[in-house]
């Protein structure tokens, strides 16, 4: 056992919701003392970097109840049980934006809040992006507005805190780096 590890002494599930589960755990620390850990289990999520032929990034505006704010984010969605991340990503892109693509390339995956949650976000980039002619279909409790922004507009949205979340900040920085390098 690595000297940093914590041993689970007791784990209790306090809540099981539609999306998250809450556990309260007693752990033994590396120095032999005990402590409590508050842990959120989450199914994980996907997010998609989609840049159009006009060199605009596809974004969605949506209300986020946790912050009581409307945020501009890249298209994203929760993983469904047993579904591969790439399949979820293709579906969420289509549902939220009406865009489809030939291919989705995995860029990076990261935990969003390692201090208390196990949510892992898988970030993809589209290849062969095109607007679907069919109407897109949202989940019944999902309301989003489609947005297509230039890099300059995306940087302004960060400045204005309309873009205000980690995955979208990462995506815009990635786009900025590629653009500055002329790729």
């Amino acid at each position: 056992m690595d000297q940093l590890e914590e041993k689970t002494l007791h784990s209790e599930k306090l809540f099981e919701g539609r999306i998250i589960e809450l556990y309260l755990e007693d752990v033994e620390l590396p120095n032999g003392k005990t402590s409590k850990r508050e842990i959120i289990k989450h199914p994980g999520a996907v997010a998609i970097i989609a840049i159009t032929d006009e060199n605009k990034m596809v974004m969605v505006r949506q209300y986020r109840k946790a912050m009581e704010k409307i945020l501009v984010e890249i298209p994203a969605g929760k993983l469904e049980k047993g579904e591969k991340a790439m399949v979820t990503a293709k579906r969420e892109l289509q549902e939220e934006t009406g865009y489809t693509c030939d291919e989705l390339e995995p860029l990076i995956s990261f935990y969003t809040s390692p201090g208390f949650a196990d949510e892992l976000v898988h970030l993809f980039i589209t290849k062969g992006l095109r607007k679907d002619t069919e109407e897109h279909q949202l989940d019944e409790d999902e309301f989003v507005e489609l947005l297509e922004v230039t890099l300059e507009e995306a940087l302004e949205l960060i400045e204005k805190k309309d873009i205000y979340d980690a995955k979208t900040a990462y995506a815009v920085q990635y786009w900025q780096m590629k653009t500055l390098l002329g790729k």
Copy 2:
């Protein structure tokens, strides 16, 4: 009211821990229907990009119980009530790494998991970084190992999924962009 907003019909606090609180809310959707929202309240956090005179980024290795994994992350910590983010950042840097700095420049702030949590991370960059001669002091339930890595090593750690969280991925990408641009 913006047409995307959700109205709170009822909010119940189901858990109040040392770090997080869990709320279950009934909301009225833009179409008049109702839905439930599972929401985590978190005090927010700081994270610090600290690059040494030898052009290495200061990182910490630590066990993360939510994932049951050891991750390599940039120094970070929870906001204390009533404390300014910059003060927390200076303290956490010193406590976790033994480094101090003349100045901390705000780089960006972002919500980590806007779908279910209000955790906001404030990212800072150090100016005038120096190793403190005094021993650093950790919280009694905190065990971390100091690491200093080159950009190449950081990119390898991402490849190996030792660096595996959003704020550190953002920080390394920022460093990579600045390096590629020769800044």
